[in-house]
């Protein structure tokens, strides 16, 4: 028995040792490392859920919604949870596809992250955010998903506000669209990064982009306790979201609609046309009243994740890139509408305002004859007539002589370049600074521009002048290209006489956007101030208090006298009655509202003409400027001018509708809203 006793004693020692080891280790785990495990436990057990703030609506000048919210039941999935499942969540997705009535492959594609080589349908947002798979879920299905979380781990259904557009396609490019926040944007933001709930959307274009921070509001935060399956079992902390502010714009929904319809008709009536733009500015304030671009699209396609087909269509050149606003990003040669700048330059440079000018059928510019359209010859005329009848040769001569005074092909040390400088003063060749993204500055070609261009390209050209184009199959063309390269190499910096002549009538390399042209006209016929147009009028809190009224900055005053401006305005006031637009405005009650304007027909090599009409009304004391452009629309008088006429008719309520009743004016008394609409506490809006 002694041996047993000894061995039992050994066992006793072992047991005591074991108890000691367990005790020490428990001390270590619970007392020494305890705090650390508390932190880990909190992290595994709690999720911070962002409650997205209701995005503020965008209203027109009378408080009518241009963009508002509607609620929608959105089913989304948590990709990080799916990735942890052995089958990558396929089983859950299969069940989901059957309750949602969607194809499994479709869902699978929708949730994969976009990246190189993966095009839509895919999820462009952050992988941290739940990926919406369906935003038209019926409540019964949503309830089913929420109640059977064990069958649908990582799937949530919640009510979300999605954007809706009461005006349909109206002002699509102007309003812009929302897209899920990208991973990069998310990481740049302070604070919460992981565990987003709901889709965090950011404005990607238009007003949604420009006023994103005001519209977005402040998301709320909910810290919830979850179980192993991710099911919420308790709410630990809750901070309510602050809804976004309302953006009140100076847009008038009715005028916008009129412009949209007018552009549609213009496009229909000119079969070659590929794009069009229309803009209406308030001359007195510099605010935008309507802004439309063609081709267009229905912004509702963005809601709840865009389908592959729709997305490709929006981006493709075949559909004419409907996302691009031609008003601010389309650049076109302005043609004769540009003559307001040229006349201003001539007068500022010393040409007498009331002098007489020769209008021959053709004018010889550096050995080349530049003619009037249709060979028109008017003899000695005033600048007034030159504008009304749009006599090109008057301007060719002026442009050519300016060019000669600057030294011609061998420029003097100090050049004056009156016409380009005046164009710049009118705001051409620079961004208007409008509160919209994606603006184009256009182009005002000058001697310096030409030289810079040559500096950038001469090395290549001079090399080609030596080596030629051996890769070209056609020997004749290769030889021609080589000659051209040689010419460019040797004298590509020279600003030629024909370029100066073309400039004077808004041709050649001159490129302007419709908005630039509209604000130039507004400056001319208004108070002479060139403004940076604004679409946003005020930012207002949901309770109706005004955060800020958005001012319209004055960029500069036109460097011409009021007398000159008056002279030009009066000349243009006769264009619709006696000038180039007389045909388009035949029968228009000028005694009721007198219209002024200037047609433009810009030639584009290899394409049909660009049709312009820049107009203002009332001609005596202009309140509005309206510009319409139809690319490949033909003569300005034939396509753009009638389109503008329709806009005036709508604004002033001229003519009769189809059922014979008088048309109600879109802007009563021809005045835009002068006071901000008032948002009441309950959310209703009154003018």
């Amino acid at each position: 028995m002694n041996r047993l006793r000894v061995r039992l004693f050994v066992l006793q020692l072992l047991v005591v040792a074991m108890l000691a080891v367990l005790g020490v280790r428990l001390w270590q785990v619970q007392m020494v490392q305890g705090a650390q495990f508390v932190a880990v436990a909190t992290e595994t057990r709690t999720r911070e859920v962002r409650v997205p703030a209701l995005r503020g609506p965008i209203l027109d000048a009378s408080g009518r919604p241009l963009v508002r919210n509607r609620t929608s039941l959105v089913v989304s999935i948590d990709r990080s949870r799916f990735e942890r499942m052995p089958d990558g969540g396929d089983a859950v997705l299969k069940r989901l596809s059957s309750v949602l009535g969607l194809k499994f492959d479709q869902l699978k594609q929708r949730i994969r992250p976009c990246g190189p080589g993966i095009s839509r349908p895919c999820w462009p947002g952050s992988p941290y955010t739940p990926t919406p798979v369906d935003d038209h879920v019926n409540p019964r299905v949503a309830l089913q998903i929420l109640e059977r979380q064990e069958d649908f781990p990582g799937v949530t259904a919640e009510i979300q506000a999605v954007r809706s557009y009461p005006g349909g396609k109206d002002a699509a490019q102007l309003l812009g669209y929302l897209q899920p926040v990208t991973k990069e944007e998310l990481e740049r933001r302070e604070g919460l990064k992981a565990s987003y709930s709901g889709v965090d959307l950011v404005g990607r274009d238009g007003l949604e982009y420009s006023y994103d921070s005001a519209l977005r509001g402040k998301p709320g935060l909910r810290r919830v306790q979850v179980d192993r399956m991710g099911k919420v079992i308790a709410v630990e902390q809750q901070a309510a979201p602050t809804p976004g502010d309302t953006l009140i714009t100076s847009i008038d929904a009715n005028v916008q609609s009129i412009v949209e319809k007018s552009l549609d008709q213009a496009m229909r009536e000119s079969p070659n046309s590929d794009s069009a733009a229309g803009v209406v500015l308030d001359v007195k304030t510099g605010r935008v009243i309507a802004m439309a671009s063609r081709p267009t699209y229905d912004p509702a396609v963005w809601t709840g994740g865009i389908a592959e087909k729709d997305y490709q269509r929006l981006l493709s050149g075949k559909s004419g890139k409907p996302l691009v606003s031609r008003v601010i990003n389309g650049t076109y040669a302005p043609g004769s509408t540009f003559k307001i700048s040229s006349v201003s330059a001539m007068v500022a440079d010393g040409s007498p305002l009331n002098g007489t000018y020769e209008c021959p059928s053709a004018y010889n510019v550096g050995g080349r004859a530049f003619g009037n359209a249709g060979g028109m010859a008017l003899g000695s005329i005033s600048l007034h007539t030159a504008l009304v009848k749009s006599c090109d040769t008057v301007f060719y001569r002026a442009g050519y002589e300016e060019w000669q005074r600057d030294g011609g092909n061998t420029p003097k040390a100090k050049i004056k370049e009156p016409m380009p400088n005046m164009a710049r003063a009118y705001g051409f060749g620079e961004l208007t600074g409008v509160d919209l993204p994606g603006e184009s500055p256009g182009l005002i070609p000058t001697r310096a521009w030409k030289r810079n261009l040559w500096n950038a390209s001469k090395d290549h050209m001079c090399k080609r002048a030596k080596t030629g184009y051996p890769e070209m199959k056609d020997e004749g063309r290769a030889a021609f290209a080589k000659r051209l390269a040689n010419e460019n190499c040797l004298e590509g910096f020279i600003y030629h006489a024909y370029e100066a002549a073309n400039f004077s009538i808004g041709q050649g390399d001159v490129q302007v956007t419709p908005l630039q042209l509209a604000r130039a006209y507004a400056a001319l016929v208004g108070d002479g101030n060139v403004r940076s147009p604004r679409v946003g009028w005020a930012v207002v809190r949901p309770d109706g208090s005004v955060v800020k009224e958005i001012p319209v900055p004055v960029v500069r005053h036109l460097p011409i006298s009021d007398e000159t401006r008056d002279y030009i305005r009066k000349a243009l006031s006769e264009v619709p009655s006696d000038g180039t637009a007389a045909g388009a405005f035949r029968g228009f009650p000028m005694d009721q509202v007198k219209i002024g304007g200037k047609t433009g027909t810009a030639e584009v090599w290899g394409k049909a003409d660009t049709s312009w009409f820049a107009s203002f009304a009332p001609a005596d004391n202009p309140r509005f400027v309206a510009v319409v452009l139809v690319s490949q629309g033909g003569f300005g008088a034939e396509t753009a001018a009638p389109a503008v006429r329709r806009i005036w008719e709508g604004i002033y309520g001229i003519g009769k509708s189809e059922d014979g009743k008088p048309v109600k004016p879109a802007l009563p008394d021809g005045r835009p809203a002068s006071r901000l609409p008032v948002i009441k506490q309950d959310g209703t809006v009154t003018q």
């Binding site: 066992l11 280790r25 490392q33 305890g34 650390q36 306790q225």
Partner: protein
Amino acid sequence: MPDAVRVRRRSLARRAVGQGAPVWRMDGLLLAAVIALSVIGTLLVWSSTRTWVSNEPTGLVKKHVLNLCIGLALYSVVAVSDYRWLRRYAPFLYGVAIMGLLLVITPMGSTINGHHSWIMLGGGFAVQPAELAKPALIVFMARLLVRSAEGKDRPRVVDLALCLAAAGVAASLVMLEPDLGTTMVLVVITGGIIVFAGVRKRWIVASVLLAAAGGLAVWSLGLMKPYQVARFTALINPASDPRGVGYNSTQALVAIGSGELFGKGLFHGGQTTGRFVPEQHTDFIFTVAGEEFGFVGTVTVVALLGVVLLRGLRIARMCEDRFGALVAAGIVTWMAFQTLVNVGMTIGIMPITGVPLPFVSYGGTATFANMIAVGILQAIHVRERALSA
């Protein structure tokens, strides 16, 4: 055996509670520790299962209490009886246990949680023969090793061989289920009993070396299933696979560690409520104690288990009867090993194995087996006192 003859003449009632009845001579501390562990265990099972079915938070704990009651009844019966009948019926008990293990392999067996270890009895009740094999094997081996050694100090080689064969059959059957944890328990019990039976030291050293070599061979020859290898890897480095095998280990540590000194209070453990630790009411019950009762709670549980083990050892030491001492030593070895493995795996010093924590974990058959074992200890104690009195 004149004593037994005299006792038998007394009425049953007097024998049970009368003066000098076994019930008054039991080891009170041992019983108190077991009851305390059972009460704590009940609370922990309750806490870890109350969120399973929202409208019936006490569903499983009720079953646990029923199991405990049955267990206590078994304990009482065993404790008051003369343990020496165990010696007589040991072969029969062993045979029944082996039959049970064989039944598990037949289509009558059922699989729960990947272990083909159960025999369904209907009505939601099931037995796990492997648990009952533990006491049966102890008793049977003790008998084999004692019969030749009466008067002598060392068991015969033939009995040792029989003993190893008996253990081998039981362990192999359990291994087939497969239940690595219980197999290990059986192996350790066998080793312990043989050591206590008095084999030479050199044999002990030799077999320890052999076992080590065997273990190394199993490891290096890749005889273990991948998940078993993974469990050992996870022990060394729980971060190696935090979502897979390491998950259990990590979550167990997080639950226990986050309890700190006093714990978060019963039903207030977030990790427990959120069911982050798998198998929490059975194999990982200790994590509930860790999270909700803190260091104070875990040390109490370990200390109570220590009381059971040390009282068991005392009973073994004091027993003049070699069979009784061997059985008691075997039971202590069994309980100690399970305590070490179960608590150890939850605090990251043992690999993850499916071994329940004695008296605390949920599980009917295990509870019965544990209670029977404590009953045997008490019976030995009572008898030892009766003999020495």
